[in-house]
Every structure is written in structure tokens, then in C-alpha cells.
């Protein structure tokens, strides 16, 4: 065989290899896209049920537990924002408790986990559980009971909101608004005395005019609520005794049901409707 023929043969072999490379490259791209187009059935929640508990996972991270927490958190955000996974909330608590075990001081996962639980999964109990876990691991962080109080208040559970706001205001560094929210939740729970005392404390210790003004308005609201309740009870007793509604609030005093008529914080009389027996404060508290 001549040298030229050998070189030609070598060149053809290289060309054949290059062609084979291109063809197989194109082949894998085409086949990959064909395979990707065929949907695969999935077991509900299968992608996460096998993640072990955070306590055990911590050993498996070989000292990179903080990094593992970051990665699981990043993955969790993507997972919980994939709306096509209908049962994605099944293991919400499991996932966020894993992150909490891996990096207990990482605050964002507790907040986002609770946010997902309350807004997406519509599970207030779970949101509070995640935030409780956050507080348990970070007793110096007021944000967890603060958010828990906010979610409970939003759901109309004022007793729970009150408890959380109380916890918040006891943590050093908590914002002043926590005390105001506590007073508001207490008012909603109709503990008028405690609400009055708290708003009074806010009024007296206010560092700025705005806060004092807010407290003043709420004090008006609390007093009006207490007075309205007192007057309506007296009207009720009057009706029971005389089988009719009083013609005016003065009759409550003249018939001995009240020693005197209460007035609002501005010294104005309460507005009475003799047809319905309803009593209203003379001013709208928040417009005052």
C-alpha cells in the first residue's frame, strides 16, 4: 500500500467518525425531545416523601448543613410555586422542619413556609406551627409571634392573635406597633378593661404625636363600646320591666336603672334611637 493511499484511508476514517459524531449528536437531541414529550405518571408527593428527617440529614451533609438548608429552601420555593403539583402541600411541614433542623437560625424559611401554609394551603394551624418552631429555635426573634398574631387576627381568631402579640411585645426589640395590635386584638375579643389599660399605656408612653393620636382614637372606641354596652343593657332591662322602649335615655336615670348617663370622651351624649332601642356613639371613632 502506498503512503498516499494510507493517508487517504486515514482521512476517510476521520471523516466517517466526524459524520458519526454529528449524526449521533443530532440523534440524541431528537430522541431526548421525543422522550420529553411523553408524560410519565407520578406518584403523588413522590418527589419529597423520601427525604429523611432533618436530624438524620444533618449527619449526611458532612458539615454543610447550612448549604443543604439553602438548597432545600430554594428547591422548596420552586416546588411550592409549581401549581401543576396539586398535592404539593402534603409534606409542607416535613420540608420546613427539615430546613429548621439543618439551619435553625435561617429565618426566611419559617416566614415563607408559614406564608405558603396560610395563603396557599389555607392551613392556619400549620402556619402557626411553623412560626412556633421558628420562635422555639430563635427565642430572640419577635417576627415569628408577630406574624403568627397577624395571621390569626386576619382569620378572626382574636384570642390566638392576642396571645401572639403579647409574646411579641415581651421580646426585646419588638416594634411598638405590637402593643397596639395586642390592644386591638384584646378589644376584638371584648376584654374592654384590658384593652383600655393597654391603650392608656400606649397613650402615656407614646414617643410621637401620631401614636398618641392613634391611641386617643382607640381609647374613644373602647370607652364608647363599654358605654354603649352599659346603656343597651339598661334599655333591655327597661323594656323587660315596662314592656316598652324608653322614649329617651333620661328615662333610664329617672326610672332608677342608671345613676347617671355616661358621656363620650368629648363630653357628648350618646345617640339613642327610641324606635329600635339602638345606641350609637356621637362621633365615628376613627374620624375623630
Amino acid at each position: 500500500m502506498t503512503k498516499t493511499a494510507a493517508l487517504r484511508r486515514k482521512g476517510s476514517a476521520t471523516l466517517l467518525l466526524v459524520v458519526l459524531l454529528f449524526l449521533s449528536g443530532a440523534g440524541i437531541v431528537a430522541l431526548k425531545s421525543a422522550v420529553d414529550r411523553i408524560p410519565r405518571k407520578k406518584i403523588p408527593g413522590a418527589s419529597i416523601i423520601f427525604i429523611p428527617s432533618g436530624k438524620y440529614l444533618k449527619y449526611a451533609t458532612f458539615g454543610y448543613s447550612s448549604l443543604a438548608a439553602d438548597l432545600i429552601y430554594l428547591w422548596a420555593i420552586q416546588y411550592y410555586t409549581t401549581y401543576t403539583i396539586v398535592d404539593r402541600f402534603q409534606n409542607l411541614e416535613h420540608i420546613f422542619s427539615i430546613i429548621a433542623e439543618l439551619d435553625p437560625r435561617y429565618a426566611d424559611p419559617y416566614e415563607i413556609g408559614a406564608l405558603i401554609a396560610v395563603n396557599e394551603a389555607k392551613d392556619l394551624k400549620l402556619a402557626l406551627k411553623i412560626l412556633d418552631l421558628g420562635l422555639e429555635k430563635n427565642p430572640d426573634q419577635w417576627i415569628f409571634p408577630f406574624e403568627a398574631g397577624h395571621y390569626a387576627q386576619r382569620a378572626g381568631d382574636y384570642e390566638t392573635a392576642r396571645r401572639y402579640y403579647e409574646k411579641t411585645s415581651k421580646i426585646p426589640g419588638a416594634p411598638e406597633i405590637a402593643k397596639r395590635l395586642y390592644a386591638a386584638a384584646v378589644f376584638k375579643g371584648m376584654d374592654l378593661k384590658e384593652s383600655w389599660d393597654t391603650w392608656m399605656e400606649v397613650y402615656k408612653t407614646a414617643k410621637d404625636e401620631r401614636t398618641r393620636k392613634i391611641a386617643g382614637k382607640h381609647l374613644y372606641q373602647v370607652k364608647s363600646a363599654a358605654d354603649t354596652k352599659l346603656l343597651e343593657e339598661a334599655v333591655g332591662r327597661f323594656k323587660e320591666k315596662y314592656n316598652r322602649l324608653p322614649g329617651g335615655l333620661d328615662e333610664l336615670v329617672s326610672h332608677g336603672l342608671l345613676s347617671s348617663l355616661p358621656r363620650d370622651l368629648d363630653g357628648k351624649d350618646y345617640v339613642y334611637d327610641p324606635r329600635t332601642g339602638k345606641i350609637q356613639a356621637p362621633s365615628v371613632w376613627w374620624k375623630r
Binding site: A13, T14, L17, L20, L21, S24, G25, G27, I28, V29, L31, K32, S33, A34, V35, D36, I38, P39, R40, K41, I43, A46, Q78, T82
Partner: protein
């Protein structure tokens, strides 16, 4: 014929490797251990046996492919036996394909042996032979053939340790590349999305050979999926082997 001779010699060489028996021993222990693990569960014991069994075949098979495959070509170069071989009328591609088929044959025997143990354990528990489990094992074997090609590719230009690391990385990337789909969905259309899409098309997707969960859970699989996955595996193996031949052709042994 030359490829067959080299393949048979590679097979004889591979079955003399003590590491192969060590791995097979551990695989057999893992398969037997699945029976023990099943005792600890509450509920479906057979599921645990199937999960652990298939995972053991896959993991130990990959270890065999990588640990033996990465040393195949390197050993010939290191011991200088390659000079004797290439001085004979053997083309380099024939040598490489012979090595590949030799190791694939070894892995086939090993997978078969592990599969028999696994199926026997399942048979003892369920009293029946499940054909779909064989299908899962078949796709594990296809994956092993691809990993063997990758190990041989790296073995052509690198030391066994580095080749093992590279091949293992290929395996890990292959089983994690499905995550790129999430990036594609979350990225706005543009250059970045196109780049990720291109990367997703090029990178190996070894999840295409993973039917373990579906088969154990008894989920239906589209027959086209089997077909395209098998073709994908074969074409990817062909691509890697072509690359390996190209690299091996460029090497200067003189």
C-alpha cells in the same frame, strides 16, 4: 472477528479482577439485606425488597462499570502491552470496541447474576415472577452500557482515579439534569432560556432509564417511552464511543 477476540479477552481479564467479585459480594449482601429491611417496615414488605433490590443492582453495576472500565485502556498503556497489540493488524477502533463489548459482556453476566438473586428473593415473597421487573433490570443494563462507554472515553486520556471521578460525575449529572426543566419553566424566554434548553438537550438524561419507581408501584408506562429511551441510550453510547475512538486515534504511543 478481531473485535470479538479482543472482547473475549477483555471478558476473561475482567472476570479475573478481584474488585468485580468484591462488588458482587456486596451487591449480594445488599440484596439479602433488603429482606431484613422489609422486616422492619409496617405494610408492604415486597415494595421495600423491590426498591432496595433494584437500587443495589443499579449502584453496584455502575461501580463495576466505572471501576473496571476506567482501568481497561489505561492498564494496556501503563503496562505497555498496547505496543504489542497495535503492532498487529488491528485498528485502534477495533481495539476500543473490543474492550467496550468485553466489559459490556462482563456487566451483562453480573447484572444477570444479581437479577437472578433479586428475582429469587421476590419470588420467595410473592410466589410469582414479575416480567416488568426484568424490564427495569434491562434498562439498568442499558444505563450501565452507556456508563461503560463513558468510563472507556475517560480512560483513553486520563488516569484511572481521574477517570473514575469524571465518570461518576457524568452519572450524577445524568441523574440530576432533569432539574434543568424547572429552570426552563422559571426562566423568561431569551438567551438564558435557550442556553438552558440547549444544555438540557446535550447533557445526559439517565432518568430515561430509571423505571424503578413506576415498575415497583405498578404504574402504566407508555410503550413509546421504552422504545425512545432504549434508542436514546444506544445513540448516546454510540456518540461517546465515537468520541473515544477519535481521542484514542489522536494518541501517540511512540
Amino acid at each position: 472477528m478481531k473485535i470479538k477476540t479482543i472482547a473475549l479477552n477483555t471478558f476473561k481479564e475482567a472476570i479475573r479482577d478481584r474488585i468485580l467479585y468484591l462488588l458482587f459480594f456486596f451487591a449480594a449482601i445488599a440484596l439479602a439485606f433488603s429482606r431484613l429491611l422489609a422486616v422492619l417496615t409496617v405494610g408492604d414488605r415486597v415494595k421495600i425488597i423491590k426498591d432496595v433490590g433494584l437500587a443495589s443492582i443499579s449502584i453496584f453495576g455502575v461501580l463495576m462499570a466505572i471501576l473496571i472500565g476506567t482501568g481497561l485502556v489505561y492498564k494496556e498503556i501503563d503496562k505497555k502491552t498496547i505496543y504489542t497489540l497495535l503492532s498487529k493488524p488491528i485498528q485502534r477502533w477495533q481495539f476500543l470496541l473490543g474492550k467496550f463489548f468485553g466489559l459490556v459482556l462482563t456487566l451483562f453476566i453480573m447484572t444477570l447474576a444479581m437479577g437472578v438473586i433479586f428475582l429469587a428473593i421476590v419470588l420467595l415473597h410473592t410466589g410469582k415472577l414479575e416480567g416488568r421487573l426484568l424490564l427495569a433490570i434491562l434498562f439498568i443494563f442499558l444505563e450501565l452500557a452507556l456508563i461503560t462507554a463513558v468510563a472507556i472515553l475517560f480512560s483513553c486520556f486520563s488516569t484511572p482515579i481521574l477517570s473514575s471521578i469524571f465518570a461518576l460525575s457524568f452519572y450524577l449529572i445524568g441523574h440530576l439534569s432533569w432539574g434543568l426543566e424547572t429552570f426552563i419553566l422559571k426562566t423568561r424566554s431569551g438567551a438564558a432560556r435557550f442556553g438552558i434548553r440547549a444544555l438540557s438537550a446535550i447533557l445526559p438524561d439517565l432518568e430515561n432509564f430509571n423505571f424503578k419507581t413506576e415498575i415497583v408501584q405498578g404504574l402504566a408506562i407508555d410503550p413509546r417511552f421504552y422504545l425512545f429511551s432504549a434508542l436514546y441510550g444506544m445513540v448516546y453510547t454510540l456518540l461517546i464511543l465515537s468520541l473515544a475512538i477519535m481521542v484514542f486515534n489522536k494518541r501517540d504511543f511512540i
